[in-house]
């Protein structure tokens, strides 16, 4: 294997009494797309800020593109695109002027610029709006423009903090396409998100919870790791079914989704036994389908295990 693009060892960051990131260690391979996934307060932003060299760690270190963030945080900045949640667009400049501004900032040769901008337009669909003022763009388009500005100098590493936050599903697809266009060109990326549904779009997922790494693997491997059956169920009286299921020693969790219920069974449990118990309680089952474990099911389980392991 090539030398990793990022090698994180024992990375910790404290803010007074709060440990925002605790003893984080992981490697990111060159050309990999790693998803940093967890709820607000899990430590995603703090991790990205440390890797971008804008926040010094309290302990530990990370080697980013060959440079230590603890001792030489400035050394790799020109090779990185760090997009925070408040990326600075110039509202009174047009779409094209914003991209050109960032190109100048990063000293992109003028001769390369038209070609690069065309490429960014092709994936972002911003071409038809190039003369529009950034201030007049919708939220999704602003976010796409921010990403184009961050990418125009073709950095080797992308650190993107919740780039899809508040963006509708259509613009979100364009954002992922822009990211993947760079990945295909050999760029490495870490993208944070609070949404489990987005984690499946990454090569590997690092689940963070309360500053700790609780899981790290490919999405499919994580789903496989649950080792339990998941059943989607429709019954005539879902509320009563929930009461029955909460009592059952065979069921790990039962969650209502609209008219249906989603059950995660215990490892050793068998659906036919659960079904028999529900029917014995007088419930009528209209539909029961085996489902693939979602990353949300996995996250919930990993956090539960971590909590159980704690004194």
């Amino acid at each position: 294997m090539d030398k990793p693009a990022i090698s994180i060892r024992g990375l910790t960051r404290r803010f007074d009494d709060l440990v925002a990131v605790r003893d984080l260690s992981l490697d990111v391979a060159s050309g990999e797309l790693l998803g940093l996934v967890g709820p607000d307060g899990a430590g995603k932003t703090t991790t990205l800020r440390m890797l971008a060299g804008v926040l010094p760690p309290s302990e530990g270190d990370a080697i980013v593109l060959g440079q230590s963030i603890a001792t030489r945080p400035e050394a790799m900045k020109s090779d990185i695109a760090y997009m925070s949640q408040r990326f600075g667009l110039y509202q009174d400049l047009t779409v094209r002027e914003n991209i050109e501004f960032y190109a100048d900032l990063y000293a992109v040769p003028r001769v390369d610029l038209p070609d690069r901008i065309e490429r960014l337009y092709a994936f972002s669909r911003l071409g038809p709006f190039e003369r529009r003022l950034a201030g007049d763009l919708s939220g999704g388009m602003k976010q796409k423009l921010g990403l184009c500005c961050a990418l125009v100098h073709r950095p080797r590493l992308l650190l993107l903090d919740e780039p899809t936050f508040g963006v509708d599903p259509i613009s979100r697809r364009d954002l992922w396409l822009i990211i993947h266009e760079r990945i295909a060109g050999g760029t490495t990326a870490i993208v944070s998100t609070a949404y489990m549904e987005e984690a499946e779009r990454c090569d590997r997922v690092a689940f963070l919870h309360e500053g700790r790494l609780v899981g790290l693997d490919e999405p499919r491997a994580l789903q496989g790791s649950l080792g339990a059956d998941v059943v989607e169920l429709e019954v005539d009286r879902p509320r009563q079914a929930l009461v029955e299921l909460a009592r059952s020693p065979l069921v790990r969790s039962a969650t209502p989704f609209g008219d249906s219920l989603r059950l995660v069974l215990r490892r050793e449990a068998d659906w036919s036994a659960v079904r028999a118990a529900l029917e014995a309680a007088g419930l009528r089952i209209a539909r029961a389908d085996a489902a693939r474990p979602s990353l949300e099911d996995v996250f919930v389980e990993l956090v539960r295990r971590m909590d159980e392991a704690r004194p």
């Binding site: 967890g38 709820p39 607000d40 307060g41 899990a42 092709a122 994936f123 919708s138 939220g139 999704g140 508040g166 963006v167 509708d168 599903p169 259509i170 613009s171 697809r173 992922w176 396409l177 993947h180 266009e181 990945i183 295909a184 609070a194 949404y195 489990m196 549904e197 499946e200 779009r201 990454c202 090569d203 919870h209 999405p219 509320r239 969790s253 969650t255 209502p256 989704f257 609209g258 008219d259 249906s260 949300e296 996250f299 919930v300 956090v303």
Partner: protein
């Protein structure tokens, strides 16, 4: 089922721009109803009209039997509203926040005591009324905000991306509360961009360019997608999307991880056309198979079909 919300030909124009275009639907008592749509689709404008913040240009809407224009002042006491940007004051204690909402909604005397106790209980904050709200973990804040939004016991509750950024465990316990309210007859209207939230709704309304373009249960919407969805693997998927997305017969092409998701009109015809377009771009198909659509695929397909 009694209609808690009844909307007939509701429209809103801003000058020449039609933000909401003759929308009609009904929501039953106790139903959890989701609003989806891209930015600018008219969701927010519709909800502003339903909550009496904005007058319709034409059409009518009734909430819990009240007309949103004629009965605007009475309406306020029959609806609750909670947005992702919580309306709680961080520098007030839990009890002070509850009392503030009680005052705003005219909940007084013994009823106020009862409601305060109920909110503390449902938010898991019993015995913590004196804590500063800013110090609460996000999941507790969210449940407290929900409690405050329904302090006056409204029959209809509006939620705007209520569980954005919350961890899945806290989200599930939040939705437990929503179903609890719904089970007691409260109608809940949720507006969101996230399928994770949409999946919790009994029915979903999909808006695009001011129009209602789909309305059904999530499972029915998923099953209703007649166009086949193909999953492809190639060596440079981003370039592959570019190569196939404007092909005739392709409705939508996007990336899912390193795979391509291509929505086509006709699978038999699309397969050779896709192979040829990719070959012309110097790319080879490693694998291609038909897959089941997720709710997001349905959403995007419907929006594209409606010209979005």
């Amino acid at each position: 089922m009694n209609a808690a919300v009844s909307v007939r030909g509701l429209s809103k124009r801003f000058g020449a721009f039609v933000a909401v275009d003759r929308v009609s639907f009904e929501i039953g008592e106790g139903e959890v109803f989701g609003f989806l749509g891209p930015n600018g689709a008219g969701k927010t404008t519709t909800i502003k009209m339903l909550t009496g913040l904005l007058d319709p240009t034409s059409g009518e809407a009734r909430i819990a039997g009240l007309d949103v224009v004629g009965d605007r002042w009475a309406l306020k006491s029959r609806i609750g509203y909670m947005s992702q940007l919580f309306s709680l004051y961080g520098d007030l204690t839990v009890a002070e926040n509850i009392d503030l909402f009680a005052g705003l909604y005219g909940v007084r005397g013994r009823r106020r005591e009862e409601r305060r106790a109920w909110i503390l209980e449902m938010a898991g904050l019993a015995g913590q009324a004196g804590r500063l709200t800013a110090e609460l973990p996000l999941g507790f804040k969210q449940r407290l905000a929900l409690g405050c939004a329904v302090i006056h016991g409204p029959p209809v509750l509006f939620l705007d991306e209520p569980t954005s950024g919350v961890d899945p465990i806290a989200r599930r316990s939040f939705w437990d509360l929503i179903y609890e309210l719904s089970g007691h007859g409260t109608t809940v209207i949720v507006s969101t961009h996230y399928m994770e939230e949409a999946e919790y709704c009994h029915r979903l309304a999909l808006m695009n360019r001011g129009c209602l373009i789909a309305l059904d249960r999530p499972a029915v919407l998923r099953a209703s997608m007649s166009e086949p969805l193909l999953e492809l693997r190639t060596e440079d998927p981003a370039r592959a999307v570019e190569a196939v997305r404007s092909l005739p017969g392709v409705t939508e092409a996007s990336m899912y991880g390193r795979r391509l998701h291509v929505l086509v009109k006709d699978e038999e015809r699309a397969r050779p056309a896709l192979a040829e377009a990719l070959r012309a771009a110097g790319l080879e198909i490693r694998s291609i198979r038909r897959i089941e659509p997720a709710l997001e695929d349905v959403f995007v397909a419907r929006v594209r079909a409606a010209g979005g």
